[in-house]
Symmetry: C2
């Protein structure tokens, strides 16, 4: 081939840590395979000499054993191969290699300034606290459900949650735009209900409707929701694609805090030899995409995340990560009053508890919310009762 | 609660088959859990009596053992809970339940007329054959790579592929809009190269650029590609979300055949107790979303799909599925000349072979393509050579 024009690359690289199963020889081979599979995607013999080999190929920077018996490889990539687009960044991180068993994406390591084209969370945990007027305590989020209730019935629930002191009321992630509960009717009713309660209590409860929708419709629903008085938004990036979350987070016309929901993402974490680590998927990815809070099923509930999994998620929401603001972990899926001591011990106060069933089981919803908030403020209250 | 207005549901239901691990009692419990988790998402005690219980809840229609030792449950859902939106349909199929280990989505069964709001493939296998002027033989697709080549170099490759008789030339799925290979420069050059070769050969080779892009940009890139002379499009729904594929398939201004790429989807299939079956993920989902051809890694290559996995994908692309047209299976990832007999035996002639490395290894690319096409027409040629 003729002389090639110089590659437009800066030399800046970012690092991805992969956990690799098998013998050391197999793991070393997998690490090499990642370098090719995620970039040039051709056999070594077909990679041209020169700057493609030097810059485009992934590079194994570190390799070593893990306590678990598997291996870790730190592989660096030129920042330019992500092309200033989140879908292509995800492709570099785990596109084709998702199909190769025994490779788990454990963690991203971003140099300062890397991916400055991604704005990340607009509010982050601190910005959300400011909006809610709750500078330090754990926060409470409650979902509107079950599916099948009418907009009026859901608004009635929202009103009671807000009177009870709930900080964030969210649509159940299964409320979309069904004929029995149209988005354009539900959202104004629920937003109004929260506003009415706020006027009575002096509170700042936010209603976050679900804007997971058809491609192209998420932005228009978000704008509609904002005009109708929504104070936040809920989206399931597993259903829409991560970049749709990024799109609504970046849109200055919208400018609302965003909660990310884990629907359809479970398959990335269930098999621990493959997929993506809990911390990367539910901590780092939402920050890259611009969520301000990340919902996930907490340990001990009806799902299977362990205490360690949840701990790694909570850590990944708060640790330094280039210019990406810290966000809130939002454990849910079986949070109950009697588990608060252990939950508060793990999550501390930088947390939003997503509580569904536990608030609905008593006869007085408003009082259940107040009890929950009192107990969150001091989780030892009534521990032995 | 006060008397409720009647639910807007027709009574029409669709069925999803799940494979469940564990003992029979565990599997039965999991089947019940799916009915709640994917719909009302509250404990039974909180489900209101009446039509929510009757219509919204999932319903176990069949339950029985599988030869593998696990169990199969056929669960029906009201068509209305998908709300005429693919993201919400995906949520019903496998949203929260993706987080519960031991549940694999095996297969959808759609009654005639269900989801008529999804148009499905615009061309399908038959329409694509018509465009290509190739009524019955297996087709050949070749990728432009490696990443790092300039638009001019990629166009030169495209020219040679087209002269060699390749039916579809696609961008490598990692070619996005990088500074060293901008989309707006690459696409016209490669489209022109294919057109120039077609003029020389009288062929109808299509160039399908990768339009996987930021949310909102996929449509504009597709329109740009069409104006530049692209004859098809490549998209990775795992990176963009499945509904972005649907969006470009439905857009009458675009109207080009679409190839779906499996990037980031591997984690759904690798652990066979969880996730989504190969047939549903790579056969049924692309048809729901409107792809005309579905790329996947074939057995015996550098990935881990088995012959049976590939067979189930091929079957799922062609079997009757409501109003959704049959599409092409596109096995790739290690297709070579000496494997053609076994590949042709499995896939028959309703197939597009995606061949990368095998065409690049000889010194004469054009001649390699021609040899491949001759061998595909009669895979026994030179079998023993």
């Amino acid at each position: 081939m003729a002389a090639r024009r110089p590659l437009a690359v800066s030399g800046t690289r970012f690092t991805v840590r992969y956990h690799l199963s098998g013998t050391e020889a197999e793991a070393r081979e997998a690490a090499e395979a990642i370098c090719y599979e995620q970039t040039v995607e051709v056999p070594d013999a077909v990679v041209p000499a020169g700057d493609i080999r030097e810059h485009i190929l992934g590079r194994v920077e570190q390799f070593g054993p893990l306590a678990s018996g598997s291996f870790e490889a730190a592989i660096s990539f030129a920042v330019e191969i992500a092309g200033r687009e989140l879908p292509q960044l995800l492709n570099v991180l785990y596109g084709n290699i998702s199909i190769k068993p025994g490779v788990r994406l454990a963690r991203l390591e971003l140099p300062a300034g890397a991916f400055s084209w991604l704005k990340g969370p607009r509010f982050g945990a601190a910005g959300l606290r400011e909006r809610l007027g709750a500078p330090s305590r754990p926060l409470l989020c409650a979902p509107l459900k079950p599916m099948g209730l009418s907009p009026t019935e859901l608004a009635d629930l929202a009103y009671q949650f807000a009177l009870g002191g709930v900080d964030i009321i969210k649509d159940d992630h299964g409320l979309a735009d069904q004929p029995f509960c149209p988005f354009q009717e539900r959202v104004p009713r629920c937003a109004d209900a929260a506003a009415r309660a706020n006027q009575e209590t002096g509170g700042r409860c936010l209603y976050a409707p679900n804007v997971t929708a058809q491609a192209g419709a998420t932005v228009s629903r978000s704008l509609f929701a904002k005009r109708a008085g929504a104070g936040g938004l809920l989206i399931s990036p597993g259903l829409t694609g991560w970049d749709t979350l990024r799109e609504i987070a970046d849109d200055d016309r919208i400018g609302l805090p965003i909660l990310s929901h884990p629907a359809l993402l479970g398959s990335f974490v269930t098999d621990r030899r493959n997929g993506i680590s809990h911390g990367a998927l539910f901590g780092q990815f939402p920050r890259l995409a611009g969520a301000d809070a990340t919902i996930f099923p907490s340990f001990g509930g009806r799902f299977s995340f362990t205490r360690a999994d949840c701990c790694s998620i909570a850590e990944s929401t708060g640790e330094p990560m280039a210019h990406f603001r810290p966000i809130f972990p939002v454990p849910g899926g079986g949070i109950s009053l009697d588990r608060l001591p252990e939950l508060c011990e793990l999550y501390g106060s930088e947390v939003i508890f997503l509580v569904g069933g536990a608030l609905r089981q008593g006869s007085d919803l408003i009082e259940s919310c107040r009890t929950f908030l009192r107990r969150v403020a001091d989780p030892t209250i009534g521990r032995l009762s």
